[in-house]
């Protein structure tokens, strides 16, 4: 298991903070509203520990899992997963500015996921001097019982998981989601090199 040194962890947290700031700034301008964003708490864990942990957290909840692949230069690649607790997503249509009857729930989830993932990762990759391509978001699971199986299938492909908890508060509405970036060992090594490079520059 590749582990981040405390310095690398700090540097990554800082990059994430900046990325999240950039993303929420863009988002606020797009949605034409004020967005309050908590500093994301990040954690690098082994991918295989994610299914167990998340299925325990979400066991009683109505949740949705949306996944979107990303790939950039210099070996940066992975899969971004967003977990939504449906109890907190009633206002998605209002947040996105859609007319409720025009758009299905799954479409709204795909759209908000794509927006959250791409704005955040674009922001992050810009700091790492890379640019990313994305696959279309896919809704993977609706049932808590399926969640663990789905996560297990996914995590088997990846080495490390970067867990980022995001809490968005959009003026009148709040919604929570959890972002998990699953990345292969090789991409993590690339990331570490970039982090070391950034650390040396300071």
């Amino acid at each position: 298991m590749v582990r981040l040194t405390p310095d690398q962890q700090d540097a990554l947290q800082e990059l994430m903070n900046i990325a999240m700031g950039g993303a929420s700034d863009q988002l606020a301008r797009f949605l034409n509203t004020f967005i309050h964003l908590q500093v994301p708490a990040i954690q690098v864990v082994e991918a295989c520990s994610v299914p167990e942990q998340l299925s325990r957290t979400y066991i009683d909840n109505d949740i949705r899992l949306v996944s979107q692949g990303f790939m950039g230069s210099a070996g940066i690649q992975g899969e971004a997963m967003l977990l939504y607790n449906m109890a907190s997503t009633h206002h998605l249509a209002a947040i996105l500015g859609y007319q409720q009857d025009d758009t299905s729930e799954s479409e709204m989830l795909s759209d908000i996921s794509s927006i959250l993932t791409t704005t955040f990762l674009n922001s992050l990759s810009a700091q790492l001097d890379s640019s990313l391509s994305y696959s279309a978001p896919r809704i993977l699971s609706c049932q808590p019982t399926e969640l663990k199986q789905r996560l297990t299938e996914l995590s088997e492909r990846w080495t490390a998981a970067l867990q980022v908890n995001i809490h968005y508060q959009v003026t009148d509405y709040a919604f929570d989601c959890e972002m998990i970036l699953l990345i292969p060992g090789s991409a993590l090594a690339t990331l570490q090199q970039r982090l070391d490079h950034i650390l040396q520059e300071f």
């Binding site: 500015g97 859609y98 025009d102 479409e107 759209d111 794509s114 927006i115 896919r138």
Partner: protein
């Protein structure tokens, strides 16, 4: 190799649609894929508003999506599963499988002109008609399989496994919401005799005909299942003993009056029924309730068949007496 010359021929040969719009939604370009299916040359519509050219676009939704691509400088996606198509185009699939238009996956990408720095949105439109048809077929097959898995091969009422599963579920529901639940078990009278008189085909014929006849007498919320051989069960959700007993009487009478015609021979069959209501204190599981209905059914048989009996606790004593 200078690769610049490649762009145009590839754009035109590409088996995907490429539609480029300005930030105020006018058409800047589309490739042959779209041109040929649309039947309108690009020169005729260039610089016209996309919503005037493609009149049935979902305007509010699409402008929101296009704006997000520009504002966030990030791609956005649309899948045929959520929105069958964006641009209404014919598909080239000979056997359409019921879809008149091309199912589409669409990626909307931000583009920037290298010199003028003007922003455009590129819509990459992929034909997903094949995938959608396979998906549709798969779902139909899955449904058929699931149904086959739930029905009794001979009589086409619910099979025992699925019927028992439903009984469990309905018992839990009844307990949770404090609603009554009743159960009828019934048995074809003298089935062996029927088989002897009319042969096994005749016996099967009676089972099939009666199952479908009784099904037609029930409410949609009642579940008729074949419990085994010539024994059937009916789950009656939200029904107390008296109501269930009335159903049983009605079914019993209707069956006795229902004449069946098999190989030019008239067959009259009768059934015996046992009715029991769920008692949440006494009945721990489905088996306990089934047993009560079975005792009532036994009493019906014992008392001369072609009748229904309501279960009550004294029946146990009655059984002990007649059996001793």
């Amino acid at each position: 190799m200078d690769a610049h010359w490649l762009a145009l021929p590839i754009l035109n040969q590409l088996n995907s649609g490429v539609l480029v719009l300005t930030t105020d939604y006018t058409i800047s370009y589309y490739n042959q894929f779209i041109e040929r299916r649309l039947g309108v040359p690009l020169v005729e519509v260039r610089d016209r508003c996309v919503f005037d050219v493609f009149t049935d676009l979902p305007e509010a939704w699409l402008t929101r999506k296009l704006d997000s691509v520009v504002a966030l400088n990030a791609p956005t996606f649309s899948s045929w599963e959520q929105r069958p198509y964006i641009v209404k185009l014919p598909h080239l699939r000979p056997v359409s499988g019921g879809t008149d238009y091309m199912m589409q996956n669409c990626t909307m990408l931000p583009l920037q002109h290298p010199k003028t720095k003007e922003t455009f949105v590129c819509l990459l439109i992929e034909d997903a008609t094949d995938v959608s048809i396979y998906q549709q077929e798969l779902q139909q097959n899955m449904q058929a399989l699931q149904q086959a898995n739930r029905l009794d091969g001979l009589t086409k009422v619910l099979n025992r496994a699925h019927w028992e599963e439903l009984l469990q579920t309905e018992m839990l529901r009844a307990k949770r919401y404090h609603q009554p639940l009743s159960l009828i078990l019934f048995d074809l009278d003298k089935f062996k005799q029927l088989n002897d008189d009319y042969g096994h085909l005749g016996g099967d014929f009676v089972l099939i005909e009666l199952a479908s006849f009784i099904q037609s007498l029930l409410r949609e919320s009642d579940y008729l299942g074949r419990y085994g051989g010539e024994e059937f069960g009916i789950i009656l959700p939200n029904t107390a003993l008296q109501g269930a007993s009335e159903v049983a009487e009605r079914v019993c009478k209707a069956v006795a009056e229902h004449e069946l015609l098999f190989n030019q021979r008239h067959i009259r069959a009768t059934i015996s029924l046992g009715v029991a209501e769920l008692n949440t204190h006494r009945h721990k599981d489905a088996h306990d309730l089934l047993q009560c209905a079975d005792i009532a059914l036994y009493v019906s048989k014992r008392q001369g068949r072609n009748r229904s009996t309501k279960y009550h606790e004294q029946l146990q004593d009655y059984l002990q007496k007649v059996n001793s």
